[in-house]
Symmetry: C2
Subunit: 247 residues, 2 copies
Protein backbone atom coordinates (compact mmCIF):
# COMPACT_ATOMS: atom_id res chain seq x y z
CA UNK A 1 0.00 0.00 0.00
CA UNK A 2 1.03 3.62 -0.55
CA UNK A 3 0.88 5.84 2.52
CA UNK A 4 0.11 9.53 2.08
CA UNK A 5 0.80 12.13 4.76
CA UNK A 6 -1.05 15.45 4.84
CA UNK A 7 -0.28 18.67 6.70
CA UNK A 8 -3.61 20.37 7.31
CA UNK A 9 -4.56 23.89 8.37
CA UNK A 10 -8.05 24.83 9.45
CA UNK A 11 -9.94 27.74 10.89
CA UNK A 12 -11.85 25.87 13.61
CA UNK A 13 -14.55 28.53 14.04
CA UNK A 14 -17.19 26.60 12.15
CA UNK A 15 -16.14 23.06 13.03
CA UNK A 16 -17.07 20.76 15.86
CA UNK A 17 -13.41 19.96 16.23
CA UNK A 18 -11.29 17.58 14.21
CA UNK A 19 -12.80 14.20 14.85
CA UNK A 20 -15.65 12.82 12.78
CA UNK A 21 -19.00 12.75 14.54
CA UNK A 22 -22.36 11.90 13.12
CA UNK A 23 -24.57 14.95 12.49
CA UNK A 24 -21.69 17.42 13.13
CA UNK A 25 -19.45 19.18 10.64
CA UNK A 26 -15.84 18.36 11.51
CA UNK A 27 -12.49 19.09 9.88
CA UNK A 28 -11.67 15.38 9.62
CA UNK A 29 -15.05 14.76 8.01
CA UNK A 30 -14.42 17.39 5.35
CA UNK A 31 -10.89 16.21 4.54
CA UNK A 32 -12.01 12.58 4.47
CA UNK A 33 -14.83 13.42 2.08
CA UNK A 34 -12.35 15.09 -0.29
CA UNK A 35 -9.84 12.21 -0.10
CA UNK A 36 -12.55 9.60 -0.71
CA UNK A 37 -13.80 11.56 -3.69
CA UNK A 38 -10.32 11.74 -5.25
CA UNK A 39 -9.47 8.13 -4.54
CA UNK A 40 -12.94 6.79 -5.32
CA UNK A 41 -13.05 4.59 -2.24
CA UNK A 42 -15.82 5.18 0.30
CA UNK A 43 -14.32 2.93 2.93
CA UNK A 44 -10.95 4.72 3.05
CA UNK A 45 -9.82 5.73 6.57
CA UNK A 46 -8.04 8.97 7.47
CA UNK A 47 -5.88 9.01 10.60
CA UNK A 48 -5.36 12.33 12.40
CA UNK A 49 -2.61 13.19 14.87
CA UNK A 50 -4.67 15.23 17.28
CA UNK A 51 -8.35 15.41 18.16
CA UNK A 52 -8.61 19.18 18.46
CA UNK A 53 -11.71 20.47 20.27
CA UNK A 54 -14.62 22.34 18.81
CA UNK A 55 -13.50 25.83 17.78
CA UNK A 56 -9.77 25.10 18.03
CA UNK A 57 -7.64 25.90 14.97
CA UNK A 58 -4.78 24.03 13.34
CA UNK A 59 -1.77 25.19 11.40
CA UNK A 60 -0.03 21.84 11.46
CA UNK A 61 -2.53 19.04 11.92
CA UNK A 62 -1.13 15.85 10.44
CA UNK A 63 -3.13 13.10 8.78
CA UNK A 64 -2.38 10.01 6.75
CA UNK A 65 -4.26 7.56 4.59
CA UNK A 66 -3.42 4.43 2.64
CA UNK A 67 -4.16 3.70 -0.99
CA UNK A 68 -3.33 0.71 -3.21
CA UNK A 69 -0.06 0.71 -5.15
CA UNK A 70 -2.16 0.66 -8.29
CA UNK A 71 -3.38 4.17 -7.54
CA UNK A 72 -1.20 6.57 -9.53
CA UNK A 73 -2.38 9.96 -8.22
CA UNK A 74 0.80 11.80 -7.26
CA UNK A 75 1.35 14.15 -4.32
CA UNK A 76 1.04 17.33 -6.35
CA UNK A 77 -2.28 16.16 -7.75
CA UNK A 78 -3.50 15.34 -4.24
CA UNK A 79 -2.32 18.76 -3.06
CA UNK A 80 -4.22 20.70 -5.69
CA UNK A 81 -7.17 18.34 -5.82
CA UNK A 82 -7.80 18.27 -2.08
CA UNK A 83 -7.51 22.04 -1.83
CA UNK A 84 -10.12 22.45 -4.51
CA UNK A 85 -12.46 19.92 -2.87
CA UNK A 86 -12.21 21.12 0.76
CA UNK A 87 -13.99 24.26 1.99
CA UNK A 88 -12.05 27.55 2.11
CA UNK A 89 -11.42 27.32 5.84
CA UNK A 90 -9.44 24.10 5.41
CA UNK A 91 -6.10 24.28 3.61
CA UNK A 92 -3.88 21.31 2.77
CA UNK A 93 -0.40 22.78 3.06
CA UNK A 94 1.68 19.73 2.19
CA UNK A 95 1.28 16.23 0.80
CA UNK A 96 4.06 13.69 1.11
CA UNK A 97 4.55 10.02 0.27
CA UNK A 98 5.74 8.25 3.46
CA UNK A 99 6.76 4.76 4.48
CA UNK A 100 3.89 2.26 4.92
CA UNK A 101 4.54 2.13 8.69
CA UNK A 102 3.96 5.83 9.34
CA UNK A 103 0.94 6.50 11.57
CA UNK A 104 0.03 10.15 12.19
CA UNK A 105 -1.23 9.52 15.72
CA UNK A 106 0.84 6.66 17.13
CA UNK A 107 4.15 7.96 15.80
CA UNK A 108 3.77 11.46 17.25
CA UNK A 109 6.44 12.14 19.86
CA UNK A 110 5.01 15.47 20.87
CA UNK A 111 2.93 18.45 19.82
CA UNK A 112 3.31 22.20 19.96
CA UNK A 113 0.30 24.38 20.62
CA UNK A 114 0.08 28.14 20.51
CA UNK A 115 -2.48 30.11 22.47
CA UNK A 116 -3.01 33.67 21.34
CA UNK A 117 -4.24 36.54 23.54
CA UNK A 118 -5.18 39.97 22.27
CA UNK A 119 -4.29 42.30 25.12
CA UNK A 120 -5.75 45.71 24.32
CA UNK A 121 -8.75 47.86 25.11
CA UNK A 122 -10.34 47.20 21.70
CA UNK A 123 -10.49 43.87 19.96
CA UNK A 124 -9.22 43.83 16.39
CA UNK A 125 -11.49 42.55 13.65
CA UNK A 126 -8.44 40.93 12.08
CA UNK A 127 -7.52 38.78 15.06
CA UNK A 128 -10.88 38.25 16.74
CA UNK A 129 -11.45 34.75 15.34
CA UNK A 130 -8.02 33.66 16.48
CA UNK A 131 -7.42 35.22 19.88
CA UNK A 132 -8.87 35.65 23.34
CA UNK A 133 -9.52 39.34 23.89
CA UNK A 134 -8.25 40.52 27.26
CA UNK A 135 -8.68 44.18 28.09
CA UNK A 136 -6.79 44.40 31.37
CA UNK A 137 -3.04 44.77 31.02
CA UNK A 138 -1.33 41.43 31.66
CA UNK A 139 1.83 41.19 33.75
CA UNK A 140 3.88 39.02 31.40
CA UNK A 141 6.83 38.80 33.76
CA UNK A 142 4.64 37.22 36.41
CA UNK A 143 3.20 34.85 33.80
CA UNK A 144 6.69 33.88 32.65
CA UNK A 145 7.73 33.23 36.24
CA UNK A 146 4.63 31.08 36.77
CA UNK A 147 5.31 29.10 33.63
CA UNK A 148 8.69 27.89 34.94
CA UNK A 149 6.79 25.67 37.39
CA UNK A 150 4.97 23.95 34.55
CA UNK A 151 8.03 22.96 32.54
CA UNK A 152 9.27 19.42 32.98
CA UNK A 153 7.58 16.19 33.98
CA UNK A 154 4.59 16.67 36.30
CA UNK A 155 1.26 15.22 37.29
CA UNK A 156 -1.11 17.63 35.54
CA UNK A 157 -4.30 16.42 37.26
CA UNK A 158 -5.13 20.00 38.31
CA UNK A 159 -5.15 21.07 34.67
CA UNK A 160 -7.17 18.21 33.27
CA UNK A 161 -10.86 18.58 32.46
CA UNK A 162 -13.11 16.50 34.72
CA UNK A 163 -14.26 14.46 31.73
CA UNK A 164 -10.73 13.32 30.90
CA UNK A 165 -10.34 9.55 30.84
CA UNK A 166 -6.56 9.31 30.41
CA UNK A 167 -4.83 6.45 32.23
CA UNK A 168 -2.14 8.64 33.73
CA UNK A 169 -2.02 12.37 34.31
CA UNK A 170 1.74 12.60 34.06
CA UNK A 171 2.97 14.60 31.10
CA UNK A 172 6.25 16.21 30.13
CA UNK A 173 6.26 19.84 29.08
CA UNK A 174 9.45 20.29 27.04
CA UNK A 175 8.99 23.99 26.45
CA UNK A 176 6.64 26.74 27.53
CA UNK A 177 7.34 30.31 26.57
CA UNK A 178 5.50 33.57 26.19
CA UNK A 179 6.10 35.86 23.23
CA UNK A 180 4.93 39.45 23.04
CA UNK A 181 4.04 41.08 19.71
CA UNK A 182 2.02 43.97 21.03
CA UNK A 183 -0.92 43.79 21.41
CA UNK A 184 -0.69 40.05 20.76
CA UNK A 185 0.64 37.72 23.43
CA UNK A 186 1.42 34.14 22.36
CA UNK A 187 1.88 31.24 24.73
CA UNK A 188 3.77 28.38 23.11
CA UNK A 189 3.71 24.99 24.75
CA UNK A 190 5.40 21.80 23.63
CA UNK A 191 4.72 18.54 25.45
CA UNK A 192 4.95 14.83 24.76
CA UNK A 193 1.18 14.52 25.10
CA UNK A 194 -1.73 16.45 26.60
CA UNK A 195 -4.64 15.81 28.92
CA UNK A 196 -8.10 16.94 27.85
CA UNK A 197 -8.20 20.76 27.83
CA UNK A 198 -4.77 20.93 29.46
CA UNK A 199 -3.49 23.83 27.36
CA UNK A 200 -6.62 25.90 27.84
CA UNK A 201 -6.62 25.25 31.60
CA UNK A 202 -2.95 26.25 31.82
CA UNK A 203 -3.65 29.42 29.85
CA UNK A 204 -6.63 30.32 32.06
CA UNK A 205 -4.42 29.97 35.13
CA UNK A 206 -1.54 31.95 33.62
CA UNK A 207 -3.98 34.74 32.77
CA UNK A 208 -5.06 34.82 36.44
CA UNK A 209 -1.40 35.29 37.31
CA UNK A 210 -1.15 38.02 34.67
CA UNK A 211 -4.08 39.80 36.34
CA UNK A 212 -2.39 39.54 39.77
CA UNK A 213 -5.25 37.36 41.05
CA UNK A 214 -2.70 34.62 41.74
CA UNK A 215 1.00 34.68 42.52
CA UNK A 216 3.46 32.93 40.17
CA UNK A 217 4.30 30.44 42.96
CA UNK A 218 0.63 29.48 43.28
CA UNK A 219 1.08 27.48 40.09
CA UNK A 220 3.48 25.14 41.88
CA UNK A 221 0.92 24.66 44.65
CA UNK A 222 -1.85 24.05 42.11
CA UNK A 223 0.22 21.29 40.47
CA UNK A 224 1.00 19.73 43.86
CA UNK A 225 -2.67 19.86 44.92
CA UNK A 226 -3.69 17.55 42.04
CA UNK A 227 -7.20 18.92 42.00
CA UNK A 228 -8.89 20.60 39.03
CA UNK A 229 -10.78 23.07 41.27
CA UNK A 230 -7.48 24.68 42.29
CA UNK A 231 -6.59 25.94 38.81
CA UNK A 232 -8.12 28.80 36.85
CA UNK A 233 -10.82 28.90 34.22
CA UNK A 234 -10.61 27.15 30.84
CA UNK A 235 -9.48 29.65 28.24
CA UNK A 236 -11.85 29.84 25.25
CA UNK A 237 -11.23 27.52 22.31
CA UNK A 238 -10.82 30.17 19.62
CA UNK A 239 -7.39 31.36 20.86
CA UNK A 240 -5.85 27.90 20.50
CA UNK A 241 -3.84 26.53 17.56
CA UNK A 242 -2.32 23.13 16.99
CA UNK A 243 0.95 24.39 15.56
CA UNK A 244 3.06 21.33 14.93
CA UNK A 245 3.16 17.60 15.48
CA UNK A 246 6.64 16.27 16.18
CA UNK A 247 7.77 12.87 14.90
CA UNK B 1 -26.34 69.82 19.57
CA UNK B 2 -23.58 67.50 20.67
CA UNK B 3 -21.56 65.90 17.87
CA UNK B 4 -20.07 62.44 18.44
CA UNK B 5 -17.29 60.99 16.28
CA UNK B 6 -16.72 57.25 16.00
CA UNK B 7 -13.75 55.28 14.71
CA UNK B 8 -15.13 52.02 13.37
CA UNK B 9 -13.48 48.72 12.40
CA UNK B 10 -15.29 46.00 10.52
CA UNK B 11 -14.64 42.68 8.90
CA UNK B 12 -16.46 43.29 5.63
CA UNK B 13 -16.84 39.60 4.72
CA UNK B 14 -20.49 39.43 5.65
CA UNK B 15 -21.55 42.97 4.76
CA UNK B 16 -22.86 44.53 1.59
CA UNK B 17 -20.44 47.37 2.16
CA UNK B 18 -20.76 50.34 4.45
CA UNK B 19 -23.74 52.23 3.12
CA UNK B 20 -27.27 51.46 4.21
CA UNK B 21 -29.41 49.71 1.63
CA UNK B 22 -32.85 48.26 2.02
CA UNK B 23 -32.88 44.46 2.29
CA UNK B 24 -29.07 44.25 2.69
CA UNK B 25 -27.00 43.92 5.82
CA UNK B 26 -24.49 46.78 5.87
CA UNK B 27 -21.96 48.04 8.40
CA UNK B 28 -23.59 51.47 8.56
CA UNK B 29 -26.96 49.84 9.13
CA UNK B 30 -25.63 47.84 12.10
CA UNK B 31 -23.87 50.81 13.71
CA UNK B 32 -26.86 53.06 13.15
CA UNK B 33 -29.17 50.51 14.78
CA UNK B 34 -26.93 50.41 17.84
CA UNK B 35 -26.66 54.21 18.09
CA UNK B 36 -30.41 54.66 17.71
CA UNK B 37 -31.02 52.08 20.41
CA UNK B 38 -28.70 53.84 22.85
CA UNK B 39 -29.98 57.32 22.07
CA UNK B 40 -33.61 56.29 21.78
CA UNK B 41 -34.16 58.25 18.59
CA UNK B 42 -35.26 56.38 15.48
CA UNK B 43 -34.73 59.31 13.15
CA UNK B 44 -31.08 59.86 14.09
CA UNK B 45 -28.66 60.03 11.13
CA UNK B 46 -25.17 58.57 11.02
CA UNK B 47 -22.66 60.09 8.61
CA UNK B 48 -19.83 57.88 7.30
CA UNK B 49 -16.56 59.05 5.75
CA UNK B 50 -16.28 56.41 3.06
CA UNK B 51 -18.74 54.17 1.24
CA UNK B 52 -16.64 51.01 1.23
CA UNK B 53 -17.76 48.32 -1.23
CA UNK B 54 -19.26 44.97 -0.44
CA UNK B 55 -16.64 42.75 1.18
CA UNK B 56 -14.14 45.54 1.86
CA UNK B 57 -12.87 45.88 5.44
CA UNK B 58 -12.25 48.92 7.60
CA UNK B 59 -9.78 49.59 10.36
CA UNK B 60 -10.42 53.31 10.51
CA UNK B 61 -13.84 54.12 9.10
CA UNK B 62 -15.06 57.39 10.63
CA UNK B 63 -18.63 58.26 11.44
CA UNK B 64 -20.42 61.00 13.31
CA UNK B 65 -23.90 61.67 14.66
CA UNK B 66 -25.62 64.50 16.47
CA UNK B 67 -27.59 64.30 19.70
CA UNK B 68 -29.29 66.99 21.79
CA UNK B 69 -27.33 68.77 24.53
CA UNK B 70 -29.80 67.28 27.00
CA UNK B 71 -28.47 63.81 26.25
CA UNK B 72 -25.93 62.99 28.96
CA UNK B 73 -24.48 59.69 27.68
CA UNK B 74 -20.71 60.19 27.77
CA UNK B 75 -18.13 58.88 25.30
CA UNK B 76 -17.03 55.96 27.47
CA UNK B 77 -20.64 54.82 27.81
CA UNK B 78 -21.10 55.07 24.03
CA UNK B 79 -17.87 53.14 23.51
CA UNK B 80 -18.88 50.22 25.71
CA UNK B 81 -22.55 50.35 24.83
CA UNK B 82 -22.06 50.38 21.07
CA UNK B 83 -19.56 47.55 21.23
CA UNK B 84 -22.02 45.44 23.14
CA UNK B 85 -24.85 46.24 20.71
CA UNK B 86 -22.99 45.75 17.42
CA UNK B 87 -22.16 42.28 16.02
CA UNK B 88 -18.71 40.81 16.74
CA UNK B 89 -17.36 41.68 13.32
CA UNK B 90 -17.86 45.41 13.96
CA UNK B 91 -15.70 47.07 16.61
CA UNK B 92 -15.98 50.68 17.72
CA UNK B 93 -12.39 51.58 18.54
CA UNK B 94 -12.84 55.18 19.65
CA UNK B 95 -15.58 57.63 20.56
CA UNK B 96 -14.88 61.34 20.78
CA UNK B 97 -16.88 64.50 21.38
CA UNK B 98 -16.15 66.89 18.51
CA UNK B 99 -17.15 70.41 17.48
CA UNK B 100 -20.69 70.75 16.06
CA UNK B 101 -19.27 71.58 12.61
CA UNK B 102 -17.36 68.32 12.17
CA UNK B 103 -18.67 66.21 9.27
CA UNK B 104 -17.06 62.80 8.76
CA UNK B 105 -17.44 62.89 4.97
CA UNK B 106 -17.17 66.53 3.92
CA UNK B 107 -14.23 67.31 6.20
CA UNK B 108 -12.08 64.40 5.02
CA UNK B 109 -8.95 65.67 3.27
CA UNK B 110 -7.80 62.24 2.26
CA UNK B 111 -7.91 58.53 2.95
CA UNK B 112 -5.37 55.75 3.26
CA UNK B 113 -6.20 52.29 2.00
CA UNK B 114 -4.19 49.12 2.38
CA UNK B 115 -4.45 46.20 -0.01
CA UNK B 116 -3.05 42.93 1.24
CA UNK B 117 -1.72 40.11 -0.92
CA UNK B 118 -0.76 36.67 0.35
CA UNK B 119 2.05 35.58 -1.94
CA UNK B 120 2.73 31.92 -1.25
CA UNK B 121 1.93 28.49 -2.59
CA UNK B 122 -0.58 27.78 0.18
CA UNK B 123 -3.12 30.21 1.50
CA UNK B 124 -3.12 30.69 5.26
CA UNK B 125 -6.34 30.11 7.18
CA UNK B 126 -5.38 33.09 9.36
CA UNK B 127 -5.15 35.61 6.54
CA UNK B 128 -7.59 34.20 3.99
CA UNK B 129 -10.46 36.55 4.87
CA UNK B 130 -8.18 39.56 4.57
CA UNK B 131 -5.90 38.96 1.61
CA UNK B 132 -5.82 38.06 -2.05
CA UNK B 133 -4.01 34.77 -2.42
CA UNK B 134 -1.43 34.87 -5.20
CA UNK B 135 0.61 31.74 -5.78
CA UNK B 136 3.05 32.98 -8.39
CA UNK B 137 6.04 34.86 -7.02
CA UNK B 138 5.55 38.60 -7.49
CA UNK B 139 8.37 40.85 -8.67
CA UNK B 140 8.04 43.59 -6.07
CA UNK B 141 10.79 45.71 -7.57
CA UNK B 142 8.90 45.94 -10.84
CA UNK B 143 5.69 46.75 -8.93
CA UNK B 144 7.49 49.48 -6.99
CA UNK B 145 8.85 50.94 -10.19
CA UNK B 146 5.37 50.89 -11.74
CA UNK B 147 3.87 52.60 -8.72
CA UNK B 148 6.09 55.68 -9.18
CA UNK B 149 3.99 56.55 -12.24
CA UNK B 150 0.83 56.61 -10.15
CA UNK B 151 2.05 59.03 -7.49
CA UNK B 152 1.02 62.65 -7.90
CA UNK B 153 -1.91 64.32 -9.61
CA UNK B 154 -3.27 62.40 -12.58
CA UNK B 155 -6.41 61.69 -14.54
CA UNK B 156 -7.26 58.18 -13.28
CA UNK B 157 -9.94 57.43 -15.91
CA UNK B 158 -8.19 54.17 -16.82
CA UNK B 159 -8.54 52.97 -13.23
CA UNK B 160 -12.16 53.94 -12.69
CA UNK B 161 -14.97 51.41 -12.87
CA UNK B 162 -17.28 51.96 -15.80
CA UNK B 163 -20.17 52.65 -13.45
CA UNK B 164 -18.37 55.56 -11.81
CA UNK B 165 -20.29 58.82 -12.00
CA UNK B 166 -17.67 61.20 -10.60
CA UNK B 167 -17.55 64.69 -12.15
CA UNK B 168 -13.82 64.66 -12.64
CA UNK B 169 -11.37 61.77 -12.83
CA UNK B 170 -8.43 63.77 -11.56
CA UNK B 171 -7.12 62.64 -8.21
CA UNK B 172 -3.92 63.19 -6.25
CA UNK B 173 -2.05 60.18 -4.92
CA UNK B 174 0.09 61.54 -2.08
CA UNK B 175 1.74 58.23 -1.30
CA UNK B 176 1.86 54.73 -2.70
CA UNK B 177 4.25 52.19 -1.28
CA UNK B 178 4.67 48.45 -1.13
CA UNK B 179 5.68 46.72 2.06
CA UNK B 180 6.85 43.13 2.26
CA UNK B 181 6.25 41.00 5.36
CA UNK B 182 6.73 37.59 3.82
CA UNK B 183 4.51 36.04 2.67
CA UNK B 184 2.31 39.13 3.00
CA UNK B 185 2.66 42.03 0.59
CA UNK B 186 0.86 45.25 1.49
CA UNK B 187 0.14 48.07 -0.91
CA UNK B 188 -0.54 51.33 0.90
CA UNK B 189 -2.14 54.17 -0.99
CA UNK B 190 -3.02 57.63 0.25
CA UNK B 191 -4.98 60.00 -1.96
CA UNK B 192 -7.17 63.06 -1.58
CA UNK B 193 -10.15 61.11 -2.95
CA UNK B 194 -10.82 57.99 -5.00
CA UNK B 195 -12.78 56.98 -8.05
CA UNK B 196 -15.04 53.95 -7.85
CA UNK B 197 -12.88 50.80 -7.51
CA UNK B 198 -9.73 52.85 -8.16
CA UNK B 199 -7.62 51.09 -5.52
CA UNK B 200 -8.66 47.63 -6.65
CA UNK B 201 -8.02 48.49 -10.31
CA UNK B 202 -4.59 49.87 -9.45
CA UNK B 203 -3.78 46.72 -7.46
CA UNK B 204 -4.93 44.45 -10.29
CA UNK B 205 -2.64 46.31 -12.68
CA UNK B 206 0.33 46.28 -10.29
CA UNK B 207 -0.11 42.52 -9.87
CA UNK B 208 0.08 42.14 -13.67
CA UNK B 209 3.39 44.00 -13.48
CA UNK B 210 4.47 41.72 -10.62
CA UNK B 211 3.75 38.72 -12.86
CA UNK B 212 5.79 40.22 -15.71
CA UNK B 213 2.67 40.40 -17.90
CA UNK B 214 3.20 44.15 -18.15
CA UNK B 215 6.25 46.37 -17.91
CA UNK B 216 6.48 49.00 -15.16
CA UNK B 217 6.39 51.75 -17.81
CA UNK B 218 3.12 50.39 -19.19
CA UNK B 219 1.44 51.98 -16.20
CA UNK B 220 2.36 55.43 -17.46
CA UNK B 221 0.88 54.55 -20.86
CA UNK B 222 -2.28 53.19 -19.22
CA UNK B 223 -2.76 56.47 -17.35
CA UNK B 224 -2.19 58.49 -20.50
CA UNK B 225 -4.63 56.32 -22.49
CA UNK B 226 -7.55 57.32 -20.21
CA UNK B 227 -9.41 54.14 -21.01
CA UNK B 228 -10.50 51.52 -18.48
CA UNK B 229 -9.90 48.65 -20.88
CA UNK B 230 -6.15 49.37 -20.83
CA UNK B 231 -5.66 48.58 -17.14
CA UNK B 232 -5.67 45.20 -15.41
CA UNK B 233 -8.39 43.30 -13.62
CA UNK B 234 -10.15 44.54 -10.50
CA UNK B 235 -8.51 42.96 -7.45
CA UNK B 236 -11.02 41.15 -5.20
CA UNK B 237 -12.70 43.13 -2.42
CA UNK B 238 -11.53 40.99 0.51
CA UNK B 239 -7.90 42.16 0.35
CA UNK B 240 -8.85 45.82 0.79
CA UNK B 241 -8.92 47.83 4.02
CA UNK B 242 -9.91 51.43 4.65
CA UNK B 243 -7.06 52.20 7.02
CA UNK B 244 -7.41 55.85 7.94
CA UNK B 245 -9.39 58.96 7.08
CA UNK B 246 -7.32 62.14 7.23
CA UNK B 247 -8.81 65.45 8.47
Amino acid sequence: MRNIKLIIQYDGTNYHGWQIQSRCVTAQGEVLKAVRKMVGDNSLKLVGASRTDSGVHAIGQVGNFQIPETNTIDCLAFHHGLNSLTPDDIVISAVQEVSPEFHARFDARGKTYCYQLYNAENLSIYHRRFSWHIRRRLDLNAMRQASTHLRGCHDFTSFQAASCGAETSIRTVFALHIQEREPLVRIFIRANAYLYRMVRNIVGTLVDVGFGKREPDDVRRILEGKNRTLAGMTAPAHGLFLLKVHY
